[in-house]
């Protein structure tokens, strides 16, 4: 049978099965899962089965109900989800004899080529795992690290810059990640674009050099490349 486990940090506070009746969650003691915390509303949320799916519904609580970090008014729950209410969280165990979920009724047919479709979280996880098992050329480890520009020589406002945005600018502009100082520096000297397969350096109003060679259009940066633009030498590195 599906159940909810109320946790405070790693401590189990209370466990209740989910039957045909909704499970009430809140500060008031008449709830099935009373949560003793001022951040929790008297009747904060409820969990129930609807058309075979487990659903959590926020009851207009003051501080909100979160499912896996997303604030929800109402959301379908899956096995392993966590409902966060104040500092407590409720683990969802739907692994028992849960009524048939909509997802498992869906036939696992191969996607049609031209018809756009969306994978749900579970399908997505499975497919990526399969794909990961197949793929050997994994730059995975490298890609999890943060791309960083370390200043080797030249005038800049910082010694190193971590690139977090899809588009990072090197230049005098206010928006620049790497901010150049000086009267005749261009607004946008060069720019770095995060693509799916890596980071690309493109020209701005100047043609930057990568490893001493001027670039012709955007080039993909490799770990350790040296970029030179407007008197600045930068080392492109993937860092932990």
């Amino acid at each position: 049978m599906a159940k909810l486990s109320l946790m405070f940090e790693s401590r189990l506070v209370k466990e209740v099965p989910i039957g045909s009746r909704p499970v009430g969650i809140g500060r008031s003691p008449d709830n099935d899962l009373p949560v003793d915390n001022l951040a929790v509303s008297n009747h904060h949320a409820r969990v129930f089965f609807e058309a075979g799916r487990l659903v959590v519904e926020d009851l207009d609580s003051l501080n909100g109900t979160f499912v896996n970090d997303l604030r929800v008014e109402r959301a379908t729950l899956h096995d392993g989800d966590s409902i966060w209410i104040g500092k407590h969280h409720i683990k969802v165990d739907a692994s028992g004899d849960t009524p048939i979920s909509v997802d498992s009724k869906r036939k696992p047919t191969a996607p049609q080529i031209n018809e756009t479709m969306v994978l749900d979280t579970k399908q997505r996880r499975e497919m990526l795992q399969q794909a990961a098992a197949m793929g050997e050329r994994s730059q995975f480890a490298g890609r999890l690290k943060m791309p960083t520009l370390v200043v080797l020589t030249g005038n800049s406002d910082q010694k190193e810059y971590v690139i977090t945005a899809k588009l990072a600018v090197i230049g005098k502009s206010k928006m620049a990640t790497v901010r150049l100082k000086g009267w005749f520096k261009p607004e946008v000297a060069a720019q770095i674009n995060q693509r799916d397969d890596g980071y690309y350096l493109g020209p701005g109003d100047k043609t930057p050099l990568v490893n001493d060679k001027p670039i012709q259009g955007p080039v993909r940066l490799n770990d350790g490349d040296v970029i030179e633009v407007c008197g600045l030498r930068l080392n492109f590195l993937f860092r932990e």
Binding site: A75, T76, P111, M117, V118, G135, A165, D196, P218
Partner: protein, 279 residues
């Protein structure tokens, strides 16, 4: 900041209905594009609902900034980014609940790529595999990541970008509006400068036309609507296998400089205005 925009949507050469939808709210510098999916005519319902919800929510917030924010927003974001992100969450809910209520709409969904320009700040929110690009200094740069299976595999180093383009799984999305009760929305802020060109497009363009051609067309055609039309024509020439929608936004000078009248096309652009569009 002078902003001139134009948009074009086209059914393409293969499909019989257009499930794309877009809207330009020129006075607000708000640009919204959505590509619907789902059997029968429901992709159209989903994308229209996405665009309508986003535009309505943003306009409402102009009159009353206290309108509820949906989903989670980062503190550091500007009000516009927060509002646009909220609009995406709201659109997700509307499409999701419509699909729950109407059995025949089950499985419908939509992508969303929306941009809002406020002074030099550009807010982008994005779910799905439509795209936003910024052409600056001749370089076309992608401002969004596709939420597709193949793109995810490229990010994990399982496929190369070239292999992804050949893959038969290109239509498999990991995220879309309306497929789940809650959705993760990508949001990012950028600054725009004079002569930047922003492009929003559905995958009907990017699967047919390579980026170098997109960049070339945007640079050679000074009129925003004409540029959008040329890109649509190009996609159709290549087969037009899907619906094609393109919005082109040209960012002009920040203010009238002393010599602005010398710039080629400056007066012509000043005379034009964005067109309201959509299906």
């Amino acid at each position: 900041m002078q902003i001139v925009s134009g948009g074009v949507t086209d059914v393409g050469r293969v499909r019989t209905n257009n499930e794309d939808c877009y809207r330009i709210v020129a006075p607000l510098h708000l640009f919204v594009l959505s590509d619907g999916m789902g059997g029968e005519a429901h992709g159209e319902v989903a994308s229209a609902l996405a665009v309508e919800t986003v535009v309505k929510h943003c306009i409402e917030a102009i009159d009353n900034p206290a309108v509820t924010l949906y989903g989670q927003q980062q503190e550091a974001w500007t009000d516009k980014t927060k509002r646009l992100s909220s609009a995406a969450h709201l659109a997700n809910r509307k499409i999701f609940s419509s699909a729950q209520e109407h059995a025949d709409q089950k499985g419908m969904g939509a992508t969303l790529t929306a941009a809002w320009i406020d002074g030099p700040k550009l807010s982008i929110v994005h779910v799905g595999d439509s795209r936003a690009y910024l052409l600056r200094s001749g370089t076309l740069q992608q401002l969004t990541s596709d939420h597709s299976l193949v793109a995810e595999q490229v990010r994990h180093g399982i496929l190369t970008a070239a292999e992804a383009e050949e893959s038969q799984m290109q239509s498999v999305l990991l995220r879309a509006l309306g497929s789940q009760a809650e959705v993760e929305v990508d949001a990012e802020e950028h600054m725009v400068i004079a002569r930047d060109i922003l492009l929003l497009c559905s995958d009907g363009l990017t699967r047919m036309v390579i980026e170098a051609e997109i960049a070339g067309t945007l640079q050679s055609e000074p009129d925003a609507t004409q540029a959008a039309q040329k890109l649509v024509d190009l996609a159709n020439d290549r087969g037009g296998s899907d619906n094609i929608t393109v919005i082109v936004v040209r960012i002009g000078a920040e203010s009238k400089g002393w010599f602005s009248w010398l710039r080629p096309g400056a007066r012509k652009h000043a005379a034009e205005n964005g067109t309201a569009g959509g299906k």
